[in-house]
Subunit: 757 residues, 2 copies
Amino acid sequence: MQAFNIVGKDVPRNDAEAKARGTALYTDDLRLPGMLFGRILRSPLAHARIKHIDVSRAAGLSGVKCVITGEDTPKIKYGNWRLFPDTQDEYPLAVDKVRFIGDEVAAVAAVDADIAEEALGLIQVEYEELPGVFDTDASTREGAPVLHDYCSTNISVNRKIQYGDIEKGFAESDYVREDTFDVHAVSHAYLEPCAALAQADQDGRITLWTSTQVPYIVQCLLASTLGMRENDIRVIKPFVGGAFGGKMELRTWEFCAALMAKKTGRPVKFTLSREEEFLAGRRRHPMRLHSRVGFKKDGTLMAKDLRIRLDGGAYNAMGPTATFLCGNFGAMLYRYPNYRFMGEHVYTNKPPASAMRGFGAPQSLYATEMQMSMAAEELGIDPVEIRLKNAQVSGDKIPDVATISSCGFIESIEKVAEMSDWKTKRKNLKPGQGIGIGCYSFISGGVFNWFNTSYPFSAAEIRAFADGTVHLLTMASDIGQGSDTALKQMLAEELGLRMEDIRITAADTAMTPQADLGTWGSRVTLMAGNAVLDAARKIKDQLFGAVSARFNLNLIYNFECKDGRVQVKLRPEKGISFGEAVAIVQRANRGEPLVVRGSYTPRDKGLVTPAFGFGSQIAEGEVDQETGQVKVKQMWTAHDSGTVINPRAVEGQLAGSIQMGLGYSLCEQFVMDGGKTLNTNFLDYKMPTALDMPPSEVAHVETYEPEGPFGAKECGEGLASPTAPAISHAVYHATGYCCKDLPITPEKILRGWKREK
Amino acid sequence: MQAFNIVGKDVPRNDAEAKARGTALYTDDLRLPGMLFGRILRSPLAHARIKHIDVSRAAGLSGVKCVITGEDTPKIKYGNWRLFPDTQDEYPLAVDKVRFIGDEVAAVAAVDADIAEEALGLIQVEYEELPGVFDTDASTREGAPVLHDYCSTNISVNRKIQYGDIEKGFAESDYVREDTFDVHAVSHAYLEPCAALAQADQDGRITLWTSTQVPYIVQCLLASTLGMRENDIRVIKPFVGGAFGGKMELRTWEFCAALMAKKTGRPVKFTLSREEEFLAGRRRHPMRLHSRVGFKKDGTLMAKDLRIRLDGGAYNAMGPTATFLCGNFGAMLYRYPNYRFMGEHVYTNKPPASAMRGFGAPQSLYATEMQMSMAAEELGIDPVEIRLKNAQVSGDKIPDVATISSCGFIESIEKVAEMSDWKTKRKNLKPGQGIGIGCYSFISGGVFNWFNTSYPFSAAEIRAFADGTVHLLTMASDIGQGSDTALKQMLAEELGLRMEDIRITAADTAMTPQADLGTWGSRVTLMAGNAVLDAARKIKDQLFGAVSARFNLNLIYNFECKDGRVQVKLRPEKGISFGEAVAIVQRANRGEPLVVRGSYTPRDKGLVTPAFGFGSQIAEGEVDQETGQVKVKQMWTAHDSGTVINPRAVEGQLAGSIQMGLGYSLCEQFVMDGGKTLNTNFLDYKMPTALDMPPSEVAHVETYEPEGPFGAKECGEGLASPTAPAISHAVYHATGYCCKDLPITPEKILRGWKREK
C-alpha cells in the first residue's frame, strides 16, 4: 500500500460548518426579487384520458400570475435514455392522458404559495377514467390496458445476458433450487424535498437552481423539452439535502419553473411538500425475481437462470438501467460458469420507480444472497464457506459485460466472519437468536453512454496561483456524500498541498468545465477523481519544467510536489515553493495564468463499470417469540472500496446504508390501495431513526484499484445491499423462516416460524 | 471604413430589462442567512491623534455582534500604487491618527442597521486635536502640520514632463499669456451608494460582493491588508449603479465587512448613506493650475509651461495618476514644440480626492482650452481657426510619453463648427448671448503598470458549443456604461453570430479569467475588447481547420465566420454551421469542449495609453443680465472615438458627460467649512437634472484606431472635459467675463461682466 499524506486521512467535510451553522443555502432558501411560488396540480386518477381542462377560474384568482397545462408546453417527451429516444416517454405536464395518481396535470405560479395552492382547486379537469393495472401480472395479462401508445404492450424494455451453456450447467448440477422473490418499493426519503427556482434573462436564457444530482442532464433535457439550446440553460446545484437516486432526472417542477419564468418574466420557485414526495415521488423498483441456481454437492456453483420483472410504474424513468444492472448484479459476487438473465421493465399505473441507492443491486442481491445462504443451509455447508468457495476474484470476467479488476471479496468474507466470531455464534445461539450474512458487489460508475453525451464523462479544471493556492472547478455534484471534500483531498495529495490551499467550485453548468454525468452509480470518486488527477498531472508537468529551468538541471532528474514545494525527488534542496513555481510558469507565458483541464472517460471497460467494489456484512439479531419483532443487535461490515479516501466519510456512508437496509428489510413500505399511496408522511411511512441503529463495526479491506484515483473505487451504494439478506438470513437462523417477500414483518415471521421456540 | 454586421449598430443593452424590471440585484439587495449590518464610526475632527478608544459600551449593546478599531486590524497600509509601496498611505481603520472629517475610526456589525448606528454613539474616542490644513497654500507653507510620518512635507508625489527648449520657445513667442486657474471638487454622485457584503467560509476564505469598478484590485488589496492570500479572496461585482472613478480602490467598508465576517462567522453587509458619500466620499481633485503659453502672432503655439498643485485631501488615493495625467493632458490637443510640466500632489485635511471621470483631464483641459480661446480672442483670430492651426494629428509625439495614432481632431473641430453655424453665430449673437468651444483628448486605458499586476491587463475566455452558442468570460466590469454589451457585440461580429448566441459572465475574480485591471481610464472597450478578439481568433483557427478537414480543401483557401456559418470565403457553399464546426473540433478532441483564452497587454505604447480619443464641443448660451443665470441653449459635439461599437451607448455617454459638465461648470460644488463638507445631500448639492439638459446634437467622426478592436477607442470620459470650457467660453462671448475659478456662478458673472448689456 502506498503511503499518502491526505488521502486516507479523516478530513472534516468542506460543507460541515455551513451546514452546522445554517448558512448553507438549499434551493428553497433562495429568494429573488419578484419571485413567484409554484404549485402542481396532480391527477387524482390512476389512468384516465384528459377531455378538457378549464384554467380560467384559477387564472382569474387575484395573485395568480401564470397557469399552464400540457397545451402550453411544446409537448416534447423526455427521459434519461437519450441514446434510445424511443424510451423517452414522459411529458413535463400530461398531454391527453394521466397514468398514475399524482401524475402532473397543470401548474400555477402566484405571488405566494397559499394562493397558488388555492388556485389548484379552481382548475377544472374533465377526465375519462380508464382501467388501471397495478402490478406486473395484471399489466402483462392478455388484454390489459396499455399505458403508452408508442409501445404495443406494457413491457417497455427488456434486457438479456447469457453466457456458458445454461442447460448443460443445470444438467451437471447435483442440487438445483428455484425461488421467487418479491421485493418492494421504498422511498428515498431525502430530508430536502425537491425544489427548483428558475429565472429568465432578457434573451430568454434560463438559470435554474435545483436540488439535483445531475445538473448536466437537467440542463440538456430541459433544453430539449423547452425547444431551447442547451447552453441557453444554466443549471446550478445549491446545497442538496440528500438524493439517493431520487433526483437524477429532469422533473416537472424544473420544467414548469423554467417555462413560467419565461412566460412571466419573474423568477418562479417550486418546493414539493413531503406529501407530494411520498404520493408521487420516485421510489425503488418493486420486482419479482425468479431465480434457479444449480450447485455441485460440494457447493460449487454450476448455473444460474434469473428472470425478473421490474414494476416500473407509469414511466421508464431510470428503469432501463435498473433492468440491465439487475442482470449484471445477478452475475456478480460468485463465479457462475453458466448464466442467463432476462429482465423486463413493465409499466403499471403507479408512481414511476427509478434509480435508488444500489440501483438494482439490493433487489438482485437479495435473491442471490438468500439463495446462497439457503443452498448452504440445505447442502450442509457453512454459508461463509460456500461463499468463499465460489467468490469472484480479480481477473474474473462476465463475458461481454465486465471484467473484475481489483477484488477484495474473499478477504471481506474472511474478515467479517472473524470480526463477528461467526463460527462460534452459528453453533451456539439460542432459538430466536440468529446470525446471518450478506455480501455485495457494486459498480464505480457506469461506462455505457445511455445519455449519449458528447463530452467527457467527467472533467476538471485547475487554476494554480502564485500565492500557493489552486482553484478546482468541476461539474461533479456533492449531494451530501462528501465528494467535494474527497476531490480536494485527491488534488491536495497529488500537488503536495494542504486542504486549505484548495478552493473548489462545483456543479454549475455554465461555469464549471463541460461536463459531468452527475452523481449516481457511485461514479464521482473514481470518475471526477480521475479527471482531477489528469489535470493535476498536467499542472505538475509545467511546474517541473519551471524548476528544471530555474536550477538548470540535468534532464534525468525526476521531481515531486511535496509539502507545498516543487523539488527534485532525491534532492529536495533543489526546489522552490509551489507558488514560486507557478509564478515562473506564469512569467514565462507573459502573465497568462496557469490553467489546465483534465478529463476522464472510461474506455475498454465493457458495458458496466471500470471497477467493482465488494464487501460482506454479518448481522446478529434476536426475534421476539411473542411479537415477531426483530431486534438487530450488531452489524459487522468488511468492505473493499479500494483505497479509502476519507475514512470518516466512508463510515458515514456505511451508517446510512445500514439505516436504509434496516428500513428496507424490516419496516419501510408504501401502503398502496390500487394505484394510490396511502402512507404519505413520516408518521405512517416507518423509517428507522437514529435510536433504532444497532452497534456497528467496520473494517476496510483495502485493495488498490488500478483504474481508480489513488486506487479508490465505490463505497456509497454497494453497502445498501447486504443488510437486508444478512438480517433475513439471521431471521432464518433464528426462526427457520426464509423471507421471500420483503419487508420481513413480524406477522410474516410469526406465520413462518419453523424452529423450536 | 469596414462594413460590420453588429459592431456600429444600436444594440439594446444586456442589462436593460433587468434594470427596467427591478430584477437587477445590486449589492445592497443581497441577503444571506444570519447577515449582520455594519456601520462606520467616522472622525468628527479634521486632524487629531487618537489617544484612546473605548468600545465596551458599544460591544455590550444587545444585538451588536462585533466592534473593531484599527487595533483589531493587522495595521497594513494599502493604496492602488502597488508598484511604489511608499505611496500606500491609508489604513482601513485609523491607526494613531485621523486626517479628515469622516476618516474611518471604528466599525460595528449588528443584527440590524439601527442597532449598529446606535452602537456607534456608544463608542468613546479620546482625541488630541491637531492643527489642520485645508488648502494647498496652507499645506505647503513653512511650518505647516505634516499629515503623514512617512513624508517630510505634505507634497506626497511630484511628476515632471519636459521636452523641447521651453525658454527658447517663450523667447521666440510674440504673445505670451499667463493664467492661474482654480478648479474645484465635485462629487461622482453615483446613484448607488457604496456597499459591500462579505461572507467567510470554514477555511476562512472570503467572498465579497461589492459595488466596485475594480474587482481584481479589491481582491489583491483586501488580501494584503488582511494578511491573506489573494486567491483566498473572491470578489464579485453585482450590478453597479454608477461609479465614475469613485469606486476604483479598496475601501474601508470592504475591509471591515471581510474582517468582521471572519470574526463573527456571519455575513456582514455595509451600505453607505448618501450623507456619508457626500461627507467623506472620494471627489474630483481641486487644483490650482498656473499656465504660461507662448504664441506667434499668427496663432502658432511656441511653448507651454504648466505648473499644477492637486489638493489631494488626506490620502494619495489615485492622486499620483491624476498628477501625471494632468501633465500628459496639458501636452495634448495642440502641438507644443516646447513643453514643461510640473505637478505636485498635496495633502490637506480634507476627504481624499481621487479618480473621477476624466481623471485629470477636465482640470487640465479647462486651463488649456480657456487659454486657447482667450489667446485667440486677444490675437484677433477665430478660436476655431487657432485650434485648427495647432491641432495634433496622427503620428504626433509627446516625447518619452506617448505617440498619437488615430486622430480625427481636426475633423471634429470642422464638423462641430459646421453643425453649430459657428462663424455666423460668432458675429451675430446679441449681448448676453454667446457661443463657445471646448475640445478634448482622452486616453483609451493606461499602459503604465502602477498596480504592478503579474497578469495580462485584460483577459477573455471563450467556450464554444455545438448548439451554436458561445460563452464569454471576462473579468471586465460593467458599471453601467454598457461594456458587457459592447464586448458581446465585438465577439458576435468576429464569430459571425447574433447577440443572442452569446452568454457573458463578468467580474467575478474566482470564476472569470485572470485578470483585468478594472474599469477606469476608458480602458474596457479597447483592452477587454482586444482580449476578446484574441480569443475569438483562436476559436476561428480551430473552426477553420475543422471545415478544411471536413471538405478536404486545398490549403490556399481562406475562411470566414459569417451568419452563423463557418465557410470558405469565396465559396460559401463549402461551409457548415458554427455549431457543427464546433462539434467536429470537439469530436476530434474526444469530447473535450472547445475552450480558448485570449488576453491583451499593451506593449511599446509609451507611458500613457495605446490610443487617444479626440473631440470638440460647442455650446450656445444666454446669460440673464439681471440675475447672471446661464442658460445653455444648445450643445453640438463631434467626437472621434474610432469605430463606434454601439452608437446608442455612446450617445448615452455623451448625454451623461454633458450633464456632468453642466454641473461642473455652473452649479456643483462642495461647500466647505475648513475640513467640513456642509452640503451632504442632494438638496444642498446642486446637480443638473434631466429638466436642465440642453438640446444636444452629435456627430461621430469615425477614424480607425489600429490598436483598437475593430478600430474602436474611448468614448466614456473624454467628453467629460469640453463642456466646461465651451460654456465658459460662451459666457465670455456673452459677457466678456473669463472665469478662472470654477464654478461659473451668477455672482461671479455679474461681478465680472464686461460687455455692453
